[in-house]
Amino acid sequence: MPTKAKGKAEQAITVEIFNHLVDLAALEMPSEEGEYLRKELNEQLRAIRELEAIEVSEDIPITSHGVPYSAAIMPSLREDIIEICPEADDILEQAPEVEERYIVVPDIPSEALE
């Protein structure tokens, strides 16, 4: 394994970018946690940058999962049949707040359109 050492962290993910990502991800984040995460993200990004040196032409196809799904092993589509879910009540029971089988949430934020 590589030894545990830290160099000067690359700062591609600036505080501004980081805050934007945190907002998009809908994460509340204390500032000390944010600093640690941003540092780790920049470290990871440096490892990812190794990929930029590899020649990948357009004729190298994309692999979205390793095993090719040939017709021989591709599962056939199911019949489109309505089935009653037997566990509907059990599923609803897992919701943090339910009222008469409706899941309760606070107001949905909205902006008035001009």
């Binding site: 545990k4 991800a25 990871q44 999962h65």
Partner: protein, 532 residues
Amino acid sequence: MTEHLCDLPAHEQVRRIKGGEISAVELLKSTLERVDAVEGRQARTESYTPNPTDLEKVHAFITVTRERAQAQAESIDQKIAAGEDPGPLAGVPLAVKDIFCVKDTPSTAGSKILENFISPYSATPVKHLEEAGAVVVGKVNLDEFTFGSSNESSAFLPPVGNPWDPTYVPGGSSGGSTAAVAAGEAAISLGTDTAGSIRQPAAFCGVVGMKPTYGRVSRYGLIAFASSLDCPGPVARNVTDTALMMNAIAGPDPRDATAANAPVPDYCKGLTEGVKGLRIGLSPDYFKLKYPDPETGELIEQPISPEIESAVLAAAQTFAEMGAEIIEEVPMPNTHHGIPVYFVISRVEAASNLHRYDGVKYGYRFPDEEENLRELYKKTRGRGFGIQPKLRILMGMYVSAEQYEKGHYERALRVRTLIRDDFERAFDPGGSYKLDCLLTATTPTTAFKLGAVYGDSVLMQYADLLTVPANHAGVPGLSIPAGFGENGLPIGIQFLGPDFSEATLLRAGRSYEMATEGEAWRALQPKVIGAL
């Protein structure tokens, strides 16, 4: 030495139960006594203050399902009394990694955000194992959402200790599975492998672990991390028990469109037929590590641990003596791209999969009244997720955002093709190498100390350097024990084969077991059992 039923191989437990020598209830009792003896204090999500005795115990379980297991064991005994077939895994104690939904049990993913989630259904592979007669003893700990290689990122602490020396990590993310099986707290376990999460902890804990071909085992009911990489698979103490598990869990599933509709062989058949004529490859690219220098970012090269290299070469010699053909110098030049590609693909998929946790439908919800739904999302996710899920969400969003990293995700998917090509060339029956399998080390080192690596997310990821290429390529891998390092911790060796070649890998593994069964290291016991 007193014999404990819980330490018997699963196939021997089944033989005795079916033959009426022991009952499933007796076996369960022996197993639960072992759990009580080695577990230590219950892992919890509350703030954790370590104490010295934590470093003597295993802490593998998040939940022990005593009553459920008792009912299952009694049902097995009733079937036997009634002359019915109790199944090929009759009464075998099974620990399920807590990333699988098991009906009516807390299914937590090792995260506070799912701490109170009780699953209304069971995952397909769990269902199959129970139908085969296995008895679910409980749900075992893992890195939070499987994000890690040491088990230290779980929200449920104390962290799992390695049964061979609990001051060391068990590996991860299926570290609860491999620790429980090594310590006799279960004979078998169901784990998952996204970058090596079955094979790496199997190597660290001295047990057998298999990552099946992608699509060989259904993912229905598996709490998703990276959907194109996740593979459920077996953990056991020997190859025969691994094959028994594969027989139960492999196969198509109408509830998982990626579960391959390929025939399932009997994995127990042919296990002892030997390796004569098998073409086993060694690749120089699996004997070295290439990784970016922490200071400069330049790629540097380092050999794997010499004692692990010796174990692989000794195993190759053993195979040669049994009649296998050893093919050296097989090039696998894209091996070292596995980790950077993984940093992209797995993060993008994880970010997508983790958006569903919102405090609305199930799981943790921030308890105070919030002014609007978005605030509820932020507070719930901010407090429900630990550090590792947050890192993956943010990185996944960054590398897939066109304005920041143009083409990164697409580039990673193309490099993934290059990794797959390495395997296709090596296994091509009409190619230069015509391999039946590759033989490699499972990990570059033996287990590391608790706390030695955790916190450095890049360094931690490199523990999976030799296992992650198989996840990108989708091919199967098997890790088996092959001795011990100077520090007294287990060494694992790995077989990698073409798609759906699990039977060949298991045969190679069983051959190695048979050839080395008289060796002194095979009689060693984990420290936590020796201390009883």
